[in-house]
């Protein structure tokens, strides 16, 4: 599931249209739009609003395969209006902290970004300027590995078209123009996330583990033992074998079950073939 975090309604609208998201009518503190693969939250402007939005979205806890994307407009000293960039270094001017979201998707050019408290009018450095990204990465990389937490910005003002002339409608147009590229990047990020989350799972293990845990009482030490033995069983057992090699009902309690499973695992052939 992709979580698209957007500050302004004008930035959100073109993405909602392009991705065909529907408004979530449930009452809540933010405007939320969604489809099967994507949730888009309009957080409001600034770091506090973005932090609150990220926390709220994470708290919804709907998907175990979340990836996070902040999309919005930004200023830049010299890049042309409408240029789309992925932030490869995000600096928080106030905190003097930096984040380096690892770049594994080769679709967009990278650019450094500074998050500032007030809109930047004079572009002192050659980088993007925004008001939310540092809060977004600081919060989201607490609940997701940082490769899957990315920031995309569309240049909406520069030295030749300074912020005083900023026009919300024009900003929406710039996002709309980039919506296909943003959607494509979002799909690639989702794909990366899928591979990541699948790799750390073993098909069928969680189900049998739940079945076993429901049958007897396991202390936390025994739960750890159970998980370790099941992992070994699933790794070593030849394909096509049952999840566990004997009837659960034959064991009287958790200890007896662990003993039997341990013996079965120790008898499995030890090979290295993949």
């Amino acid at each position: 599931m992709i979580n698209l975090m957007v500050a302004m309604p004008a930035e959100a609208r073109p993405l909602i249209d392009h991705m065909r998201l529907k408004a979530d009518s449930r009452p809540g503190p933010f405007n939320l739009y969604r489809n099967e693969q994507c949730r888009l939250l309009v957080t409001g402007m600034g770091q506090v609003a973005m932090a609150a939005g990220c926390g709220w979205m994470a708290g919804q806890g709907e998907a175990s395969d979340d990836v996070w994307l902040n999309v919005g407009v930004a200023g830049h000293r010299s890049l042309a209006l409408g240029e789309l960039r992925v932030a490869n270094r995000i600096s928080d001017e106030q905190l003097d902290r930096h984040w380096y979201p690892p770049q594994l998707i080769d679709e967009l050019r990278g650019e450094a970004l500074r998050t500032v408290m007030e809109p930047s009018k004079d572009y002192p450095l050659s980088c993007l300027y925004d008001m939310e990204a540092s809060a977004f990465v600081a919060i989201c990389s607490r609940f997701c590995t940082s490769e899957l937490v990315q920031v995309l910005k569309v240049v909406s003002d520069n030295q030749d078209h300074p912020l005083e002339h900023f026009d919300v409608k024009a900003a929406a147009g710039l996002i709309a123009h980039n919506a296909p590229a943003i959607a494509s990047y979002a799909a690639a990020l989702c794909e990366l996330g899928r591979g990541y989350y699948q790799q750390s799972e073993i098909d069928g293990l969680a189900e049998i583990e739940q079945e076993i845990l429901a049958r007897w009482h396991f202390t936390s030490t025994r739960k750890t033992q159970l998980h370790g033995l099941l992992r070994r069983w699933f790794a070593l057992a030849p394909a096509g074998q049952k999840p566990v090699p004997f009837e659960l009902s034959a064991c009287s309690d958790a200890a007896a079950f662990l003993q039997q499973l341990g013996r079965a695992v120790d008898q499995l052939p030890v090979t290295v073939d993949s």
Partner: protein, 329 residues
Amino acid sequence: MIRNIYVEEQVRDHPRTQIILERYPAASVIDCNHYGEVFNPNSQSFQLQKQSPSLILANKNAGRVMETPAGYGVGGQRNFYFSHMYNCLYDCRYCFLQGMYRSAHYVIFVNYEDFFADIESTSAEDSHQPSWFFSGYDCDSLAMEPVTGFIAAALPVFARLPEARLEIRTKSTQVRELLAMPPMENCVVAFSFTPDEISRALEHKVPSVEKRIRAIEKLQLHGWRVGLRLDPLIYCDDYSLQYQRLIDLLFSRVQADQVHSVSVGEFRLPRDFFRKMVRIYPREKLFAGPLEQVDGMVSYPESIEASLRQCVLTALREHVADERIFLCA
């Protein structure tokens, strides 16, 4: 293909930084204050980054030459290691780097001259006995040589230090540079091996056993001293057959009397590294084998280790004298 290069402020103007950047004109260059800002944060995935690692160019300010753990060595009394690089082009499932580091980016420390100065001063501390310097502790010594040029820069330094010994430990076949220069008495090029079937299953992206043997043949023909490293020993049901085959193959091709040393090392990982590796690869058979945890270390039980060791040592002794065989901790 390197697509992103992080450059630490301290080395931005270093000539070696410029040379490396020129190799990758299409890469994005990202400034950082200190390499740790990129390499050390908690929330990173080693396996995701392994799909497309970036380069980090940095300065190693301290800890450039370190004493090896007790029991590591090939007969010398003074043993040190150094790492001009963190992480590796290859992807061996048993590699401790994936348990130790959060990031799979390649860190290259470009201040080679500081490493060389530390090697010289460490060697000079005791001129009565040779000091051994092991390269390839936190990386493979030669795999990235075309990019780093580290070994090419280090060899002239060791040529001036006859009392120092250099071991270049590798699984790489990048030996062109070595073949272009005269062999050095105080340098051993040490190749690591596991049996072919194990290598195919566990040593991803590593040149095949056959290719490594060919590299050894060339080096020996050229007069370089070569070492063999059977490290780590990997257990499987037919380990005896597999190791016997590997050792027979090696000694049917390399000149046994010209082999400087053979070392044998056990599979051993700190518990926390092991746990992290299992989290990354929960289906990996290697981690589902008969391993046990004792005093915070994960390894095969002593009975299995002893059988493995005995089998390998017996096979080796058919080809090499005992004094050239070393057990490494």
